[in-house]
């Protein structure tokens, strides 16, 4: 019989599916929470957890318990006391006004009838719910203002857009394109991160390609032991190089300059980059190079026309690894650039420690910093994974 055995097979595979899907859910949940939160209005973030976005807004239950029996579940049941009418609700914006009204008699009858009068806190919750349904304080479920505020470095109590529309923005904001370069903003930090990461990726790979070619296809004295030494250099941990170099930079006045961090990343990335490219270039078929040399090709021609084009997969993996390593690096940026040219990681690190609970800015900022790596990950997954694996030995 075909069907029962198929069902049995399915049943046997069920635990596998359950465990795997469960683990995937656990893995995605933290990022999902951050992603959803970054689009929520700041008041919502602090009032309810991100997992409640599909539930009714805060105060709905209290409203149902105390008010819905007369006013209706949508608040519109009594026509001359329509709770969705902003002009009416305007009079009961605050909990004490509302509470007074609840205690008063209306048309000779107790306002609340048999229902007990809610306590202060509940009343405040109901008042805020009424402000919301009447449109006085309409809050969208999702907003982009967290991102706008984070990018422009806005630090007020309202939002960048509202303040700019009202014209009372703080002195360091111009409400035009210039705000993208506000040193407190993530927009500027994004640009800085690119300015750090792109040259710091190209330079070491360029240098390493030359050296790797020499190690693969040239004959010179000390080739073997120099390559062994190079492998050994990979063990020097990052932390060990920071102190002398920052002292050296202090003497040369290179602390807080882009050249300083570019050169540092180049130097630190080289041993591993040479090692990886050499392993790839050295394993290219011998015959190709031999026939090229027989045809009179110089080393320069063989390097630019053969070795480089054939090594593109290795170069791509290495490039992605190096770029992301720098993009995600905090320590080197902290030491050599600091607050002078804040990069994304530096800016977020600062916000975590100084802002405390500014989750609306923090979540948006974190997501801005993750966007590029995620795009690279999904677009170039094969190279990305390969680069990450090969890069694991890097100190």
């Amino acid at each position: 019989m075909k069907t029962p055995s198929r069902f049995l097979n399915w049943l046997r595979g069920l635990p596998t599916h359950l465990i795997l899907i469960g683990l995937c859910l656990i893995w995605i949940l933290p990022s999902l929470g951050l992603f959803i939160t970054s689009f929520r209005p700041v008041q919502d973030i602090n009032e309810t957890g991100w997992w409640t976005i599909l539930a009714k807004p805060k105060g709905y239950e209290e409203f149902q318990a105390y008010c819905a029996s007369c006013h209706g579940s949508d608040g519109k049941a009594i026509s001359n006391a329509d709770l969705t009418n902003p002009e009416l609700v305007q009079n009961y914006r605050r909990s004490f006004a509302l509470l007074t009204s609840l205690n008063r008699e209306i048309d000779g009858q107790i306002h609340m009838g048999d229902t007990p009068i809610p306590d202060d806190k509940t009343t405040a919750t109901i008042a805020s719910y009424m402000r919301r349904i009447s449109g006085i304080e309409a809050r969208p479920k999702f907003t982009l203002s967290n991102y706008i505020d984070a990018i422009t470095g806005y630090r007020g109590n309202s939002t960048y857009v509202t303040d700019c529309a009202a014209g009372n923005q703080s002195v360091d904001l111009y409400c035009n394109i210039r705000d993208l370069t506000n040193p407190r903003g993530m927009g500027r930090a994004f640009i800085n991160s690119l300015l750090v990461a792109i040259p710091s990726t190209i330079l070491p790979i360029l240098f390493a390609a030359f050296a790797a070619y020499a190690f693969s296809w040239m004959d010179f004295k000390g080739r073997q032991w120099m390559f062994a030494l190079l492998v050994g250099l990979q063990v020097v941990p990052l932390q060990m190089t920071l102190i002398p170099i920052s002292r050296l930079y202090a003497q040369l006045g290179m602390n807080g300059t882009f050249w300083g961090i570019w050169l540092f990343h180049t130097g630190f990335g080289l041993p591993y980059a040479i090692y990886l490219i050499r392993n790839f270039m050295g394993s290219l078929p011998h015959e190709i190079f031999e026939s090229a040399y027989l045809d009179g090709a110089s080393h320069w021609t063989a390097f630019t026309k053969l070795a480089i084009p054939l090594s593109v997969p290795a170069l791509a993996s290495l490039g992605i690894f190096q770029f992301l390593w720098i993009w995600n690096d905090l320590l080197v940026a902290l030491v050599f650039l600091g607050g002078k040219y804040p990069v994304l990681t530096y800016q977020i690190g600062n916000m975590v420690t100084s802002l405390g609970s500014g989750w609306h800015l923090l979540t948006a900022a974190a997501f801005i910093s993750m966007a590029l790596p995620m795009i690279i990950f999904f677009a170039l997954q094969r190279y990305f994974v390969r680069g990450m694996l090969a890069g694991s030995v890097k100190g």
Partner: protein, 307 residues
């Protein structure tokens, strides 16, 4: 492995050095010199004007010129750091390898393998700082009624009392380690999955035909077959964990008893302005790492050779 001599074009003796020179210069300045200089600085006093022995106080134990190492090895805060690093190694390495292996084995049997793996691997693309924010939000603790952190919301919904995950001693280091496991499991999974694919299916099928259940197939055949890869993954993870810095720096700053070696190094250098002590810690760190590194590179070379 190497392709010496034969087939290599003769060239002027200077040509190789033209190709090598840019790299050699940069590496000398940025790796060789700092490596040696760190060692020298670790023997010097606070402002590098004299040997470290001048920092000794009368009547207290003194290690002479190795006074900075006295601090790096015996001070209370460094002992906390060592202890925490050991905790990190034990829990994070076993956590990532076990989870990675589990997911690799399970994903191998389903049709949505690539998708599942992508989800597990995704945190590798995120910076430690970003992960720090994500998890700080997960661990968020409010003194009031409403918990916007998922973990505390779960705890309170079961009637428990909200926990301040990041300041509670003992719990907080574990909380940080979980973040590390979340980030690095994808790495272990990918390497182990590649190794699992290399296990010949005939052996597995033969065992199954002989009546071995999946549990036995896993422990008796799969694990022994991929044991070399598991060792590489473990040593790589040990190195990574020893250097762990960003997670601690972002989430607790090393406070509340969560200090680790690399964060202490940063604190001594850039907050306490004690380059001598920081250098001594760096030297201690590299001495701990080097054995694992050598083991790893040797294994890597062996694998390359057999490929």
């Amino acid at each position: 492995m190497s392709k010496n001599g034969s087939g290599i074009l003769r060239q002027r003796p200077a040509t190789p050095w033209l190709y090598l020179l840019p790299s050699l210069i940069v590496m000398t300045i940025f790796i060789v010199y700092p490596g040696l200089n760190t060692f020298y600085l670790s023997l010097r006093n606070i402002d590098n004007t004299s040997w470290a022995s001048t920092a000794c106080k009368a009547g207290e134990a003194c290690w002479g010129v190795f006074e900075n190492y006295h601090y790096a090895l015996t001070s209370t805060i460094m002992q906390t750091a060592f202890l925490n690093n050991i905790k990190w190694i034990l829990l994070m390495v076993s956590g990532t390898v076990a989870m990675g292996l589990l997911i690799a084995v399970l994903a191998d049997r389903v049709r949505y393998e690539a998708f599942a793996k992508a989800i597990i691997f995704l945190p590798m693309a995120i910076s430690f700082v970003g992960a720090g924010v994500i998890w700080k939000f997960m661990y968020n603790y409010d003194t009031g009624q409403v918990q916007i952190g998922l973990l505390n919301a779960i705890v309170t919904s079961f009637g428990g009392k909200a926990v301040s995950w990041l300041t509670e001693p003992q719990i907080n280091t574990i909380a940080l380690i979980i973040v590390g496991v979340w980030m690095w499991t994808g790495f272990c999974m990918t390497i182990l999955a590649a190794a699992l694919k290399g296990v010949p299916t005939e052996i597995l099928e033969a065992a199954r035909v002989d009546g071995a259940n999946e549990w036995m197939v896993f422990w008796r055949i799969m694990v022994p077959q991929i044991l070399p890869t598991i060792t590489v993954v473990i040593t790589t993870m040990v190195i990574n964990v020893l250097k762990i810095f960003d997670i601690v720096y972002v989430m607790t700053g090393g406070n509340y008893g969560t200090e680790v070696i690399a964060n202490r190094l940063y604190t001594e250098m850039y907050k306490n302005f004690q380059p001598g002590r920081a250098s001594a810690i760096a030297v201690v760190l590299i001495l701990v790492i080097i054995p694992a590194m050598i083991m790893n590179i040797r294994r890597f070379n062996e694998q390359e050779a057999t490929r």
